[in-house]
């Protein structure tokens, strides 16, 4: 009886073990590789006159191993000789998500193996309306292709017969993993080193650095891009998804949520529900936090001995910390919804919906993940762009990511929207404040897309990249994971903002309670100016004059000429300067300025509502100024950490500078135009 040695390989979780058990039944045995804990399984079965020995290898994602078990499989495949010599390979693919498997298939094929592609889960794929052109795949890769259901046993006999056939002629493009100008280098390397084939030579160069003059990183990224191009082309011609044939629940939900028009409308509706909850649900705990801090402030004043430290605690530190803590309920609600979207599988659908749009503006679907994390914070988002191989797409994503509304903007937006529009309902159930907040988020999205579109024409591109994403089943979110996401993000918000706010509060307080000669002679000056007023009537005038002539007031005054055209006064100027460190400092700064300035015990909102502009005599936070400020914070890059991470990731002062400048100029111009039109 003739013997054939077959290896069973594929990506993880494609049903290899189920197929192995189906092929070999109870004849399997488990053996350990020496020195490693990962096991391979060996089994046998008979078919016609052949005894077929099957080795089931652990699943792996790429020929470039990232873990020990992957390394084991890759080494096994690269050194195909001796008693373990493999004559045939069964490459198991997941019929419901074959695009993920074809990349690896093309790599294994290039190692020179005689492959039979077993497309598993074909029953489920058909229920999803997926139709696979197996003849085209067979021609393109030069392999036999069999559709199977390992669980039910369908197609397994055809698979066994296919193992005995010779492979068809390959129509695959040779060297589809290397750009033409490098072919000669590879060919001469093969001749000199007597490599098994071109791809093993390529791997020897890229994995073992055997040719030092080659830029290995570039070769690897070129391979990824060229292979994805090839896979994309094959997929376009071999896979058709006919949703009308789909009968499973996920597909039926998808047909609604991913409708070319309805999908976007539903997405907007989901966002509106989130923002409405941010306002309405958070208002209760925010009220409790306000009451707590008011009590804390009064208690601190009662307990501590009078003096500058006590005054710093009550007028600097407590309002500063309140400025952070009061927004925790909103952050919690926001991340609760983000976690639900992510956990349920809907986030991946949003990514897929946006992919086409992303391609048009010079980014790829891979940019969507960093861009969505930008809604939390631009810093991890910019770091997450490392997964984008294409340099131009990565750079564009980095440049536009800070335009999306991060959680630090939320406190600024909430307070300004609170001043801008009343808390009333449209049609009795849609909050106008939530609509304005939704509009601010959409503004961030639209501006980032427009900015990307412009950068597309300014930055040169070498080649196009492709995005392949997995579409998970819809699942009920795990409470543990939702809680973890909320906890991690809230902790990061409190800790990061908290550290800066406390330090900034101290500096702001000292600068706001010290000053030059005019500051020191405040009482004399005010008393001589208003001799008719009583001591109680003089108090607010004294604190106002003191603040204006403090070092902090001088700083605000120094930039006032530049910000008057935007509708701001020197007090807002102070907040603009202090929030260069981080946007959320804006609210804390406002709290501190008005605590130093005012004798009355009012909430920050009440103080801002009453505030009058010293230049115009009108209310400071009027409609035009609020819009102008909202737009300024939507576009300006007031975040030291983002500037730093852009510099780290691009390693370029030029691009860091361009990002800071274009956002600052955009913020200034848009706020200026808005104020001048509305005033």
């Amino acid at each position: 009886m003739k013997k054939i040695h077959v290896a069973l390989i594929g990506n993880p979780n494609v049903g290899k073990t189920t197929l192995f058990n189906r092929l070999c039944g109870v004849n399997q045995k488990t053996g350990n590789y020496p020195g490693v804990t990962v096991d391979k399984k060996v089994g046998k079965f008979k078919h016609l006159d052949f005894q077929i020995e099957v080795t089931d290898l652990p699943g792996f994602d790429s020929i470039y191993p990232k873990s020990m078990d992957e390394e084991l499989v890759v080494n096994y495949l690269k050194n195909n000789s001796g008693k373990n010599h493999i004559e045939k390979v069964i490459f198991v693919a997941d019929g419901t998500n074959i695009k993920k498997n074809l990349y690896l298939l093309s790599q294994v094929k290039d190692l020179g193996y005689d492959i039979v592609l077993a497309i598993n889960l074909i029953d489920i794929a058909k229920r999803k309306g997926i139709q696979i052109d197996t003849r085209y795949l067979s021609k393109k890769f030069g392999i036999h292709v069999v559709e199977i259901s390992a669980r039910k046993g369908d197609g397994v006999d055809e698979l066994k017969s296919a193992l005995l056939l010779r492979s068809p002629e390959s129509k695959a493009d040779d060297l589809k993993y290397l750009r033409e100008e490098n072919h000669e280098i590879l060919q001469s390397f093969v001749q000199e080193n007597k490599a098994q084939n071109m791809y093993t030579a390529f791997l020897s160069i890229t994995q073992d650095n055997t040719l030092p003059e080659v830029n290995v990183k570039k070769w690897k990224s070129e391979e990824a891009i060229l292979r994805y191009q090839f896979v994309r082309k094959v997929l376009d011609k071999s896979i058709r998804i006919d949703k009308s044939l789909a009968t499973d629940t996920t597909s039926r939900i998808d047909s609604i949520l991913m409708h070319p028009v309805g999908g976007y409308i539903i997405f907007l509706g989901v966002l509106l529900v989130i923002f409405q909850s941010v306002f309405s649900l958070a208002s209760y705990p925010m009220g409790w936090i306000e009451i707590f801090f008011s009590w804390f402030h009064d208690s601190a004043q009662l307990i501590l001995a009078p003096g500058s430290f006590t005054s710093f605690i009550t007028e600097g530190l407590i309002p500063g910390i309140e400025g952070v803590v009061i927004f925790v309920p909103q952050i919690v609600i926001l991340f609760f919804f983000f976690a639900i979207l992510d956990e349920s599988g809907y986030m991946n659908r949003i990514i897929y919906l946006m992919d086409r749009l992303m391609q048009k503006v010079g980014m790829s679907g891979k940019s969507v993940v960093p861009l969505i994390s930008s809604f939390a914070c631009a810093v991890p988002a910019i770091m997450a762009t490392r997964t984008i191989e294409n340099k131009r797409e990565r750079l564009i994503t980095i440049l536009v990511a800070p335009l999306l509304t991060c959680s630090a903007r939320l406190p600024v937006y909430t307070i300004l929207i609170g001043l801008l529009v009343p808390n009333t309902m449209l049609f009795g159930f849609v909050s106008i404040q939530a609509l304005v907040l939704l509009a601010m988020y959409l503004l961030g999205i639209v501006t980032s897309i427009l900015a990307a579109f412009i950068f597309k024409y300014l930055i040169k591109n070498e080649y196009r990249s492709f995005f392949i994403t997995e579409m998970p089943r819809y699942l009920l979110p795990s409470i543990k994971n939702v809680f973890f996401t909320i906890w991690e993000n809230t902790k990061a918000f409190i800790w990061n903002a908290g550290k800066i706010i406390v330090a900034a509060s101290i500096i702001l307080y000292v600068l706001g309670t010290n000053g030059g000669e005019k500051y020191r002679n405040t009482e004399q000056f005010v008393q001589s100016k208003y001799p008719e007023l009583s001591q109680t009537e003089l108090a607010p005038k004294i604190s106002s004059y003191e603040l204006e002539h403090s070092y902090l007031g001088m700083m605000g005054k120094s930039i006032e000429p530049a910000i008057i055209p935007l509708g701001y006064d020197w007090k807002i100027g102070i907040a603009l300067i202090s929030s260069i460190a981080a946007r959320e400092v804006f609210v804390g700064t406002m709290s501190i300025i008005y605590s130093i300035d005012s004798e009355e015990d009012l909430s920050i909102m009440q103080k801002l509502e009453k505030e009058t502009n010293s230049n115009t005599g009108k209310l400071t936070f009027n409609f035009a100024t609020c819009i102008s400020l909202l737009l300024f914070y939507a576009f300006s890059l007031q975040c030291m950490s983002t500037i730093a991470v852009t510099y780290k990731e691009t390693k370029s002062i030029k691009w860091t500078g361009i990002q800071f400048l274009y956002m600052t100029i955009l913020a200034y111009v848009v706020s200026f135009v808005a104020y001048q039109i509305l005033v």
């Binding site: 990232k66 001995a305 550290k499 330090a503 101290i506 500096i507 030291m640 950490s641």
Partner: protein, 40 residues
């Protein structure tokens, strides 16, 4: 006494911002060594 305390905190805060500025712009990033994160 209270004033001295406030000024100590003030200097401490300035130093904190100075340190943050230095560490974000000038401190070298540690390399992970495996090349997978893109740091190499």
């Amino acid at each position: 006494m209270q004033e001295i305390l406030v000024y100590i905190l003030f200097v401490g805060s300035l130093a904190y911002f100075g340190f943050r500025f230095f560490s974000t712009f000038f401190k070298k990033e540690k390399k992970c060594g495996n090349g997978n994160c893109g740091c190499n």
